[in-house]
Amino acid sequence: MLNSPHRKLAASLALLLLAVACAHHVDQRPNKPVGADVAQTLVLANDTANALTIMPALTGSAKPPLIVQPAQQTTLGFTIRLEENVSAGREREVVLVPEESSAYVTQSAIDLLMKARFGNGPAREIRVRLGKCLFGSSQSATHDLHLKKPPLSGVPALQLCP
């Protein structure tokens, strides 16, 4: 085993060699939060005839599946942040803050994503499309989603901005 300083040197050399060989730099575009984080609530109502089982978002999570019986609803909180790139374009991006969000939601591009089973069916994704309008002061922070049937995969069950 190399001791720590040698390990660091070896790692640096390896990185340098890698960089010389074929790696390339990309512009660093760290994001800056714009304004305060915004807490949102999704009220998920199961209007189907089968139990809805929502799986935790992260593989290996210790959280048990969340079961919503027919005609019942559950509340999932999530927090989003508007971030701005520091480059000339100053593009803004809606970002889920996982630490302040339910363990049953994650983010896929601009969608909030949940995985759920309707009855004994296969695990399906439920997408909720996010948007920058959620940072406007006039927008409600509570959103109702009534699931009457399993949504098509890849198709948002709810659009939060027009």
């Binding site: 890698l18 790696a23 390339h24 990309v26 992260l58 374009g89 593009e91 591009a109 296969p122 890849g154």
Partner: protein
């Protein structure tokens, strides 16, 4: 921050870099082409360091992983593997960064054609190893940001004059995108795009993918071994959707609209339909096949097969070829004990049945059942799947469609084609014999990474088209 959130950030930023460069030279008043590449037509970069925590991103260094000489002269294929957690191998985040750029730049002929016309042209790259739904969601974000950035810099909205031009698997991403933005009635589709044009898209699957789970893929097999290539193919969740569609998506009504006489996969012994997504057939698969990914693929197929609202369907066009009569348009599937299947010693249980297509995609599969015949163009000259999007005939059809709003008559295309170079506007492919010789030399070690011959673009063009995992 989770690995997934970090990956999301990095992909967003990679797309934004492309959009920035595009918007700066945008020409208002000219049509816009957004190309959705076929499978493996998008360039993938891998972070040089592993993701550990929030402080890991943004990564300063990325290393090309698809494509790079290390695919043949090293072990890069191993780096494309996706873990059961959904993370990239070794926690090194992989992101799409536009069209494939390596000696041969994919779709260069397509780009040159439209740029010579003075049109705006950009490629939406996506990670072809992952789900179509993820790529479709990223496409939505990509188009919104493209619109906003062009408006900021040029004061015009590019989307109402945009043609989404999709080659092969890119058309499946596009179909799911259309479904996701259409709503119930499709009103407002004109704010998103002018039209959606697919070239050789396997809407109901291809014959070539199923065999990869058994026999890997040549020429990668030569360097990694059949079993390892098959295992890596099995680790990629996205391409499972590329097998022939399940019986629900290809029901009798759909088969009739497609001109298909029967379900395209049958059991070799009984002749009965053999659905690759039916759990009753899962025991035929080797252990590395991911049954959860098979279930997910059926759900993606459901979205692909769903009808679009009429205002959206009116804007959908397909370009396809049936000139290659040796295309496998149906399959016979032997009953095998998947758990003990050994690629090194057992033959493939899959046998193709020849029919018309473009060499990869059957003619019958390259259209949506819902699309009217008047919105489908059957190519008369272009017959090679990999080169369809760079063929002068295809590009002339697209040009006339954009200029006139309707598909041209074949005679008008023939005139336009006569004025253009034949076969392809991109890099030509080396002959199979030359490529085989090159591969043998690389395998024997007589051709090394640093040799000038190792960078022969025509050889790499052929390798790129043959070394497909999707």
């Amino acid at each position: 921050m989770s690995y997934e959130t970090a990956r999301n950030h990095e992909i967003h930023d990679a797309h934004q870099r492309l959009i920035d460069a595009f918007a700066k030279s945008y020409r208002c008043g000219q049509p816009t082409i957004v190309l959705l590449p076929g499978g493996m037509g998008s360039h993938l970069d891998r972070s040089a360091l592993a993701y550990k925590n929030d402080q890991s991103i943004p990564f300063a260094l990325y290393d090309p992983v698809w494509m790079d000489v290390e695919m043949i002269f090293g072990r890069d294929l191993e780096l494309l593997r996706i873990e059961e957690t959904g993370h990239d191998a070794g926690e090194h985040i992989i992101i799409p960064t536009g069209p494939l750029q390596f000696l041969v730049n994919a779709y260069d002929g397509t780009r040159r054609f439209f740029e010579d016309l003075g049109w705006n042209y950009i490629v939406f790259g996506y990670d072809w190893r992952r789900s179509l739904e993820e790529a479709a969601s990223q496409l939505t974000e990509f188009l919104v940001n493209l619109r906003d950035r062009v408006k900021d810099l040029r004061d015009c909205d590019p989307l109402p004059t945009t043609t989404l031009l999709a080659h092969s698997q890119g058309g499946l991403v596009g179909k799911i995108f259309l479904q996701s933005i259409s709503g119930d009635d499709g009103r407002g589709i004109g704010l998103w795009m002018d039209r959606f044009v697919t070239i050789g898209t396997p809407f109901y699957g291809t014959s070539s993918h199923q065999d990869r789970y058994y026999q890997g893929q040549s020429p990668l097999n030569i360097f990694y071994g059949k079993r390892r290539v098959a295992e890596i193919a099995g680790s990629l969740p996205g391409p499972y959707v590329l097998m022939f569609a399940d019986q629900s998506a290809l029901d009798a009504g759909t088969q009739a609209k497609l001109g298909l006489g029967s379900y395209p996969i049958t059991d070799s012994a009984t002749g009965a339909p053999a659905d690759p997504y039916d759990s009753a057939n899962f025991s035929r698969y080797p252990s590395w096949v991911n049954t959860t990914a098979l279930e997910d693929a059926v759900l993606a197929r459901e979205t692909i097969a769903a009808d679009l609202p009429q205002p959206v369907a009116d804007r959908v066009f397909h370009i396809r070829s049936g000139l290659n009569a040796a295309t496998a348009t149906g399959l016979k599937w032997d009953t095998v004990e998947g758990a003990s299947y050994n690629p090194a010693s057992a033959p493939s249980p899959i046998t193709g049945i020849a029919g018309s297509g473009d060499g990869t995609v059957p003619f019958w599969s390259a259209r949506l059942a819902q699309t009217l015949d008047a919105q489908i163009y059957d190519l008369a000259h272009a017959g090679d799947h990999g080169g369809l999007a760079e063929h002068p005939e295809t590009l002339s059809v697209v040009r006339k469609l954009v200029e006139k709003g309707t598909l041209p008559k074949p005679a008008a295309v023939a005139t336009a084609v006569a004025a253009l170079p034949a076969v392809t506007l991109g890099t030509p492919k080396a002959s199979p014999a030359k490529t085989s010789k090159w591969i043998a030399a690389a395998r024997a070690g007589t051709l090394k990474k640093g040799d000038s011959r190792a960078n022969d673009p025509e050889v790499w063009r052929r390798i790129l088209e043959e070394a497909q995992l999707c």
